[in-house]
Symmetry: C2
Subunit: 202 residues, 2 copies
């Protein structure tokens, strides 16, 4: 199963290049596991699905710690038809045993409860798209049930769900939403925006 | 059918608030047709599906004309289950006659060829998600056939397609991709990023 993300970091600052280059060091511990390609719009990271959200968390937290208003956007995908299978994307934990929705919601909640705090408060909103499945809304509603008890749920918005909280449990919540819902080997995509230090906190 | 977008504008500048507020005037001609709601992460616009991309084009071109490196992100959606029907979303052109894929590709190409130039070069990348359909890849591959002859096709990337060109035909291409592919009343979502004035043009 191919898994990865197209990620972009937007520091709202004249020194956006310096802030991006400074934050990129946070990806160093992950570089040996990922294939990374950059162009003028985004950076592709391809690798084990469980490492995608920790890598994004560390990259974004490094940029946000400058105090600048920063946004991360990511188009995250797993199981996309037409993408080659790639050994680099092998799940670290194996394919795993999948249970019913209620069981998966409980497992996801436990992972988030055990997540370490990152010391950086962030807001996020995302849309989860389980593709090629006629019953795709069942998985989405199950995922929303999990999100509402994750401890970082903010509110439902049109087309997306908004989270707010410490980057540790918040990115853990995003990872669980992405990996534990939708068919195990199915095509699942996520449209993710994370924001910190906004002057217009609401 | 409910249609709209969550949009965000990111000027990479210390004066990001001023640039955003200045560009928002470009939405004035559309305000009477849209419901608009803003929070700290994005602005929701809900209205006729044909006006979503012209409104985003005018907003983004206004920000890009400052010469600042700017990015627009939008989560665009139509036909989302669970969203209420809303008279404000009635298509201006009626439901329209839908033909086979080849006919729709030709129609989309004609619309793009007739689009006025905006005088602003931009890069874009997007993912199109026709949801709840087992054959979703047929519509995606048909859409890609259209994109390759749109005149603004740049290249295929993992998880998305990249465009480059004048904002006029480029946003027309995005609108055609969104409206003419996927089931007419089906759930279709788009994850869209548009960039201008990047210092790392590739």
């Amino acid at each position: 199963m191919f898994s990865g993300a197209q990620i972009s970091l937007y520091p709202m600052s004249d020194d956006f290049v310096g802030i991006i280059l400074g934050a990129l060091h946070a990806l160093d511990p992950y570089r040996s596991d990922f294939r990374i390609e950059t162009d003028d719009v985004s950076t592709l990271i391809v690798g084990p699905p469980e490492q995608l959200f920790p890598a994004m968390r560390d990259l974004f937290a490094a940029a946000a710690r400058t105090g600048t208003h920063c946004v991360l956007h990511a188009t995250v995908s797993r199981g996309c038809p037409g993408e080659p299978d790639d050994p680099i994307c092998t799940p670290l934990s194996g394919a795993g045993v999948r249970g019913d929705l209620a069981g998966r919601i409980a497992q996801a909640r436990n992972v988030v409860a055990a997540a370490e705090l990152a010391g950086q408060t962030v807001a996020a909103q995302f849309s989860l798209y389980p593709l090629g499945a006629v019953q795709h809304m069942d998985e989405i509603y199950g995922c929303i049930d999990f999100l509402k008890t994750s401890g970082v749920f903010d509110r439902s918005k049109n087309f997306c769900t908004k989270l707010r909280g410490d980057a540790g449990p918040l990115f853990a919540t995003l990872g669980e939403a992405f990996l534990r819902f939708g068919a195990p080997e199915g095509h699942v995509a996520m449209d993710l925006t994370v924001s910190a230090n906004s002057p217009s906190k609401i």
